[in-house]
Amino acid sequence: MNKEKLLVVNNLVVAYGSIEAVKGISFVVHKGELVTILGANGAGKTTTMRTISGLIKAKSGSIKYKNKELRNLPAHKIVGLGISQSPEGRRVFGTLTVEENIMLGAYTKTKVNTKVLEWIYQLFPRLKERRMQLAGTLSGGEQQMLAIGRALMSEPEMLLLDEPSLGLAPVLVKTIFETIKQIKENGVTVLLVEQNAKAALKLADRGYVLEVGKIVMEGTSQELMSSPKIQEAYLGKKKKNN
């Protein structure tokens, strides 16, 4: 099967001053796929996501979305092309209402698509109940729902999720991952960054492992899950014979 390549990242280098946080990574996301990037704290996952969205500029390499180079585009144009992001730490607008946050997600649209809005409220009924509340008064899990819902309002073809499970109680993690699955099933291509490797691999089609700015391993979720190295370093399983 020859799947359409939606996002092709090639030899991407991103630096903060003289320190390279991402050191020449390449990866591909096909249309309709759910791809995960795993890695410990500081591996360069967020840097990669922010660079795709145009919040930071790459030092070298290329980011092609539907064969269009994104590297020199400002962030707001990238949203218009169909890539939206729920950033690490949720970053909801705390002094705006839940509804205002959601509507801002549709900023690039001339008209709010009520079908999408209904779908989001169906995915996250809690947001509908609390739509007049200030986003800053929501719980962590609800804020994460809001961040994802807001990102969906631009009707993205590709959704970037940066650590959606960060700091959430296990029950909520399950809910969020369940929703991500539904989003994928609805036809949205997802690039998911996670430290929670187990949950991410269960959901993903393929994955990449990032270590200090370099991709050290890639494969299908099954391949990664059965790799001893992954089991030891990311899935918390002990080596059998030591």
Partner: protein
């Protein structure tokens, strides 16, 4: 009691002017976390521009048309001035340390102030007396002039309009979003640069109205008036909670009324000193201003 109501009317008038000017400080601070020290000088510039227009067109137009034309032309020129200021003094320093932008703001302030002096000279200029007819209404012993009525009504309309724009429109919501988290705003597809320019346009336009009111109400304008009116408006913005739009309106009104009562019951020579006493007292009890958010600033 008549003094009380008279000073209340006077205080609301000057308070409206402070509020209009304070909005420019607070809106720019909200979005850029920058004190635009040149804002007061832009207000002064607008008063001079207004005077030039009035002197050129007086006699050629009927008084009402003259006033409307003066406001429109001055607002447009001042708004363009605000955009030029942002592009020249602040945009190149967007990623520089905050102190650089402060120095740039002070530099821009001096350039505008000295520019006014070079063009129009160091001596005060006087607005003609008859721009707005000198009609006074006597309401149970309290005098209110036509000019005061105009200031109060126009300021009120502008503030309501601003409130609706910021809270009810897409661009206004984007502006509030930019004030909270610019990167998150970019992820929504908001062109943050465009929002910043809009902020300068609105702030400068309101400042222009303030500058014209100063000229028409007090009549005497001078090249460094931006400092004193700017400072008062800035204090008003801080009292209300810098970055907070209703706060700037409230702070301006409070400061105006406070100053008027000092002038009415004590002496106007005390008003500046007591303004700072008021500021200090409010800062002690509400360090972030009356309506400011009580949260530590994110760095």
């Amino acid at each position: 009691m008549e003094i009380f109501f008279q000073q209340l009317v006077n205080g609301l008038t000057i308070g409206s002017i402070y509020a209009l000017v304070a909005l420019g400080y607070t809106m720019v601070y909200g979005v850029l976390k920058l004190i635009n020290f040149a804002h007061g000088d832009l207000v002064a510039l607008s008063a001079y521009i207004g005077l030039v227009i009035i002197m050129q067109l007086m006699g050629a137009l009927s008084p009402t048309i003259l006033i409307i034309a003066t406001f429109i032309i001055t607002i447009i020129i001042t708004a363009i001035g605000g955009v030029v200021l942002e592009r020249a003094a602040y945009k190149p320093l967007r990623k520089a340390p905050r102190l650089s932008a402060v120095v740039s703001a002070l530099g821009a302030s001096m350039i505008i102030e000295n520019g006014i002096m070079l063009i129009w000279g160091p001596m005060p200029r006087i607005f003609p007396a008859s721009v707005v007819p000198n009609t006074n209404y006597n309401i149970h012993g309290v005098y209110i002039s036509l000019m005061q009525v105009l200031v109060l009504i126009i300021s009120f309309i502008l503030m309501v309009a601003l409130y609706l724009f910021v809270n009810r429109t897409k661009l206004g919501t984007a502006m509030r979003a930019c004030a909270i988290d610019q990167d998150a705003a970019r992820l929504m597809g908001i062109n943050v640069d465009k929002v910043i320019v809009t902020t300068f346009v609105i702030g400068s336009a309101l400042g222009a109205v303030g500058g014209l009111f100063i000229g028409m109400y007090y009549r005497g304008i001078y090249f460094n008036m931006g400092w004193i009116y700017g400072l008062n408006a800035f204090v008003a913005a801080i009292i209300g909670g810098i970055g907070n739009i209703p706060g700037a309106m409230l702070g301006g009104m409070l400061l105006g009324i406070f100053n008027a009562f000092i002038a009415g019951y004590v002496s106007s020579s005390w008003s500046l000193a007591l303004t700072y006493v008021l500021l200090i007292v409010i800062m002690i009890f509400r360090p972030t201003g009356i309506l400011g958010e009580r949260v530590a600033e994110k760095v």
